[in-house]
Symmetry: C2
Subunit: 198 residues, 2 copies
């Protein structure tokens, strides 16, 4: 296989598709409010667009390991701070494997028109605190950059029916603080992108 | 800035430097035993070499958040399973912020001679279970690919002087199992790389 240049026409089509999907998602109320403005900003740029994004969230999953995706059942999901009551209502349900409360920072997938832009974007996002970002694919449809912070923390709440945590309120407060840390980085990224010629 | 091709001569020099460093590290006993064979294998390949690597480890850090690097003090580190006694001896010491036991899967930095190789490598490592891998830099010195699995789990043990965990033995056993999961992926990666023309 040989790497060809990105096909600009194909890329522009994909960009337009992504933009239309974004508008539709706004209309049906599907767009994560905390990230809407950033995506709008990105669509004013020449050489990048976004495909999927999440502003950060707190989920509770019933799984053997917190990193599993397919075998995992998500029993709770929220893109804003959680309350002790939210978590208690889940905690009192039957657990099959292990119950993990997972805080994730923002995740954004960008598509860049060329390698220069991709490299420039990597520098910008790293400066904004998204240290774990990288190019995950290169094709004639564009260069896909996954932008992630290091904010991803699972808390083991229950092992089967056994509750592991001594102070649930402390965990809830800490998880909310971590969620906020992620959202704050998103604001920093917004400023960095706004000022970038990209 | 315009992306130029990788300078093959510069790349070969870097490769030789990395190989000499690896040999020195073996001599002083600095090389992580669980990853030595894999690095040796990589140095038999034409278009890739490794710069830094870790086979997976368990650390205990005293930090506000587990993802912090600079502000963190590592109070314990081991590349093999830990015992309850290991952890208890740390738990009984004074904690400044929060005490986190962190299990990390393998991390390897590869340097590829060209984009074709980098893309090929990304496919190989993803198939071997290293789903969070990406190209983190591109320069005339080579294309750097960070290869990581999703295995990274912090356990909050103490908040200040307050112990959070009800059953430490359960956490120790689980952390060791997770460490093993990471090492198993390394073996899978070894097989995939051995059979790859790269």
């Amino acid at each position: 296989m040989t790497v060809n240049k990105v096909d600009e026409r194909l890329w522009k089509n994909k960009r337009e598709e992504a933009y239309n999907r974004f508008l539709e998602d706004i209309e049906i109320g599907y767009v994560d409010a905390d990230i809407k403005e950033l995506i709008e900003l990105v669509f004013t740029k020449k050489n990048i667009f976004t495909t999927s994004s999440c502003s950060g969230r707190i989920v509770i999953v019933d799984a053997l390991y917190p990193w599993l995706r397919e075998e995992t059942s998500i029993v709770f999901k929220k893109h804003s701070p959680v309350t002790l009551e939210d978590v208690l209502s889940i905690l009192n349900q039957k657990t099959l494997y292990k119950l993990w409360l997972i805080v994730s920072g923002p995740i954004i997938h960008f598509n860049a028109l060329n390698l220069d832009t991709a490299i420039k974007l990597l520098t910008i996002v790293r400066n904004a605190g998204f240290k774990h970002s990288g190019i995950i694919s290169i094709s004639n449809g564009g260069i896909v950059i996954e932008v992630v912070s290091g904010i991803w923390v699972p808390f083991l709440l229950k092992d089967g029916e056994k509750v592991i945590i001594k102070d649930l309120e402390l965990i809830v407060n800490l998880a909310n603080k971590m969620l906020y840390e992620g959202k704050a980085r998103l604001e920093k990224l917004f400023k960095f992108l706004r000022d970038a010629d990209i």
